[in-house]
């Protein structure tokens, strides 16, 4: 059975802090790992990672994948209150030419306080 575990489950930080969110996985077939941000409604896409060691960046957010150790981290620097959300990690174990088969972790709830 495919499994994705995120840690910590929740986190409270002060504005300006740097946070690291963790995602480890065990899947039968690996196609990609995805990070999503979920505020009140739909999860919104952050990153898709397919190769080890290549950092993806978008503003203050960055992510990297380690396929040997089966984990990924999501870093947020200089946090702002607008970063408060649930961050979801998912692994796609679909095969070439097939639909995505995403297994999601239960998420990390981040709260950024003033």
């Amino acid at each position: 059975e495919d499994k994705v575990v995120q840690s910590p489950l929740s986190l409270v930080v002060h504005e300006g802090d740097t946070v690291t969110l963790n995602c480890s996985y065990e899947v039968t077939n690996f196609r990609s790992l995805l990070w999503y941000k979920q505020e009140k409604k739909a999860p919104t896409f952050l990153f898709m990672l397919t190769s080890s060691g290549i950092e993806k960046k978008s503003g203050r957010l960055s992510s990297i994948l380690d396929k040997k150790e089966l984990f990924s981290i999501l870093n947020i620097t200089a946090t702002q209150t607008g970063d408060s959300a649930i961050y979801l990690c998912a692994v796609d174990s679909g095969y070439t030419g097939t639909a995505s088969k995403l297994t999601f972790g239960t998420g990390t709830r981040l709260q950024v306080t003033l």
């Binding site: 739909a42 896409f45 995403l102």
Partner: protein, 111 residues
């Protein structure tokens, strides 16, 4: 919301009644998915579609059926709703091996 519309946004129904949720996309994406989200479980796949009239089961498909008669529409039916189907339901779309885009969700309460 990447051209995905879910309806209704909220629904309250009684145990034993049939319920249909609708997902409509304007992106012409090949794949469409239905997920449910529950505390402690994360998002779990119910059914997905890989083309018109082509559907398959996900990990939590019992008690649900789907239909896709047009590229843009994907319906999820709870044949006889139960309280365990109280959840938030998300529709998603994707192209092959690409990221999923999610709709805004339907909050369903079964009393």
């Amino acid at each position: 919301d990447a051209g995905i519309t879910q309806s209704p946004r909220h629904k309250v129904t009684e145990t034993g009644t049939p319920v249909t949720l609708r997902c409509h996309q304007t992106e012409n994406h090949r794949y469409m998915y239905w997920y449910r989200q529950d505390p402690g479980h994360g998002l779990r796949l119910i059914h997905y579609s890989y083309g018109v009239k082509d559907t398959d089961k996900g990990e939590v498909s019992d008690g649900y059926s789907v239909s896709r008669s047009k590229t843009e529409d994907f319906l999820l039916t709870l044949e006889s709703a139960t309280s365990s189907q109280t959840s938030v339901y998300f529709c998603a779309i994707s192209e092959p091996a690409e990221k999923l885009f999610f709709g805004s969700g339907t909050q369903l309460s079964v009393l």
